[in-house]
């Protein structure tokens, strides 16, 4: 490749990259800037090189709201959705892919049909249902509806269908039952799909906003994405504090992302295989 061409590619990547990263840098540097009169009202470019670095904003966040509580809520809710979801959906995917049972094909078609219904299309009646049950303002109302996931089932199904059948038949002949075959033979050889589904579920649920907004009113069970929105509307408007909140909120997932980037990419790409 010619140097000129390489140079042009780097130049365009650098320019676009700068545009992409600026809001993030802006947020981080804003979170480290001590509150100053002007900046408190409106953040300008000054924020990027304003004098001094301080952790005041972070201290403020902890003083003003129960950040750790929100963090726990988010981690607990997402952990349950991802963990229990992996178990439930992988088993269903396996039953559809490998076991012969009455009604399987019809049920699988229904699962595929359900794939197309977005949460938004059912949010209102679901909200009505959980209100009737008196489930509002609980962890469960934020967890249970998202455990069974048609798309996860579909991803597991396609992976299991592609695994060599003989391995399971060997296990059956060796004397393993359905469940034991699943967790002794299938699961250890299906790590990629478990990782992909875990990442995809986590990615879509970590930012959940609409549903928690509808079903929670108190602070006790609210997750981070909702917390930052309420924190943002909580007077006095302190941008430094809001950014500090944001940085802390995104750090866990950013660390996960940087550590397991290939899995994130693979997870996202898996979602595209459907096309």
């Amino acid at each position: 490749m010619g140097y000129v061409k390489a140079f042009l590619i780097y130049l365009s990547l650098l320019l676009i990259g700068l545009l992409f990263i600026t809001p993030i840098v802006f947020m981080i540097s804003g979170s480290l800037t001590p509150d100053a009169g002007v900046f408190a009202q409106a953040g300008g470019w000054d924020a990027l090189w304003s004098a001094g670095v301080s952790l005041d904003n972070y201290r403020d966040v902890f003083a003003r709201v129960d950040f750790m509580g929100y963090l726990f809520n988010s981690l607990f809710i997402n952990g349950m959705i991802v963990g229990v979801g992996l178990l439930v959906n992988s088993l269903a995917g396996y039953a559809f892919a490998r076991l012969q049972w009455y009604g399987r094909n019809l049920l699988f078609k229904l699962v595929l049909a359900v794939l197309i219904i977005p949460l938004e299309a059912i949010a209102v009646p679901l909200f009505y249902m959980v209100s009737l049950f008196g489930w509002r303002d609980t962890y469960w109302v934020q967890i249970l509806p998202f455990i069974a996931n048609a798309f996860s089932i579909y991803l597991f199904y396609t992976f299991f269908i592609g695994m060599p059948r003989e391995m399971e038949e060997a296990a059956r002949i060796d004397g393993a039952g359905v469940l034991r075959t699943f967790y002794c033979i299938i699961v250890p050889n299906a790590k990629p799909v478990f990782a992909s589904v875990a990442v995809l579920t986590f990615l879509t649920q970590w930012g959940a906003f609409l549903w928690p907004l509808m079903v929670t009113s108190g602070e006790d069970v609210r997750p981070l994405p909702l917390a930052i929105a309420t924190f943002y509307s909580l007077p006095p408007l302190q941008w430094g504090d809001i950014f500090a909140f944001g940085v802390m909120m995104v750090t866990p997932i950013l660390v996960l992302f940087l550590l397991f980037q290939p899995w994130f990419v693979r997870g996202v790409v898996t979602s595209g295989i459907k096309g």
Binding site: E166, A170, I173, D174, I185, P188, N189
Partner: protein, 368 residues
């Protein structure tokens, strides 16, 4: 140890393919039975029905005289070696061998003892800590055998266990399997599409085609006295030559390959009196390639189509030249020894041994 019986077994898959039709087959205790046939003939299905991997549509499968149609695989006390070995990739060789024993809930000591015995038997002792992907094809094959043998099953099933190996290894392991089976005396059903494997391994061979059993018997029996033209041409490499034959009562001769060779009718009828009823009716004759020779009579002038030298012998493909024009001539093949003299396109004389002729009616069934 155990005997196995298929009793009027039919198998129709859910997509309506008929894999087996009324299969009746008995395997004796300690016997090595080879199921052979082209792909799709139903041989693997027969094995899977016995293993309990697929349900039987009609009939009964019996192990030791007891029907097992309704028992799950793990209760049938069978073991199976798969074509692609189906080793558990995430387990070491030791764990692979131990897995069936774990399922039997044997004590740790008992498990270790049996794993080590089996590993020693198969020369796997050095490889116990390796994973399948660190093994060669031949080693994988041995581990698969070991996993099947380790729990001392009543019946041993092998589904094309050698087909993923290269030619040399295949011959070596073939011999090992034969020796092992004799030593352990386990009733074994062995599925293959390779007739050489069938001939060398089987105490008896069952030839299947299109879901139907064609013939069962000792290898030499099937080779010499095939029940039909399918068995005749399937066994042997190349298979039996099949050509037209006519018992000409007027001229008192037997016309072979549309007049290519002629033999006296009298001597044939003396040997096979039951052939009288086929006088002057179209028939088929079969002859093994090695029953042709340049040294014997009756002989005929033939044209060489191709010569395949194999070192110690040669295969000569030819068409009889004296035949009546216009008749559909088949290329025949002779297995000849000695130095090659034939050249493509030239003619030479070749004779046949009339005592080794087989005759089939026009449905392809043998005339006994």
């Amino acid at each position: 140890m155990a005997s196995v019986e298929y009793r009027h077994i039919s198998k129709v898959y859910t997509d309506d393919t008929r894999a087996l039709e009324d299969l009746n087959l008995q395997v004796e205790d300690g016997e090595m039975m080879v199921l052979v046939g082209p792909s799709g003939c139903g041989k693997s299905t027969a094995l899977r029905l016995l293993a309990g991997l697929d349900p039987v549509t009609e009939g009964q499968v019996l192990i030791d005289g007891k029907p097992v149609n309704e028992s799950p695989p793990q209760h049938r006390d069978i073991a199976m070696v798969f074509q692609n070995y189906a080793l558990y990739p995430h387990m070491t060789v030791r764990d692979n061998l131990e897995f069936p024993l774990r399922m039997m809930k044997l004590s740790r000591m008992e498990r270790t003892k049996q794993v080590e015995e089996t590993a020693y038997l198969l020369g796997l002792s050095e490889l116990l800590q390796r994973r399948p992907k660190e093994l060669s094809g031949g080693q994988c094959q041995r581990v698969a055998m070991g996993r099947a043998l380790v729990r001392k099953p009543k019946v041993f099933l092998m589904d094309e266990p050698l087909s993923n190996l290269d030619a040399k290894l295949r011959i070596q392991i073939r011999a090992e399997i034969a020796a092992l089976q004799k030593r352990l005396g386990v009733t074994t059903l062995y599925v293959t599409h390779d007739q050489v494997e069938a001939m060398t391994l089987g105490d008896r061979i069952a030839v299947l085609n299109g879901g139907r059993l064609q013939q069962v018997g000792r290898p030499q029996e099937l080779y010499d006295k095939p029940d039909n033209t399918f068995v005749a041409s399937f066994l042997g490499n190349p298979g039996m030559n099949i050509f037209s034959a006519r018992l000409n009562s007027e001229a008192a001769i037997v016309d072979l390959a549309d007049g290519g060779w002629q033999i006296p009718l009298e001597s044939l009828l003396a040997q096979k009196p039951q052939m009288k009823q086929y006088l002057d009716r179209p028939l088929m004759a079969g002859l093994r390639p090695e029953a042709f020779s340049t040294q014997i009579t009756p002989s005929a002038e033939v044209v060489v189509e191709a010569v395949e030298p194999l070192g110690h012998e040669r295969l000569v493909y030819f068409t009889p030249s004296d035949t009546m024009s216009g008749s559909g001539q088949e290329t025949l093949v002779a297995r000849l020894t000695g130095l090659p003299r034939e050249r493509v396109g030239e003619s030479f004389r070749v004779g046949l041994d009339p005592t080794r002729l087989c005759f089939f009616n026009k449905e392809g069934e043998v005339i006994a």
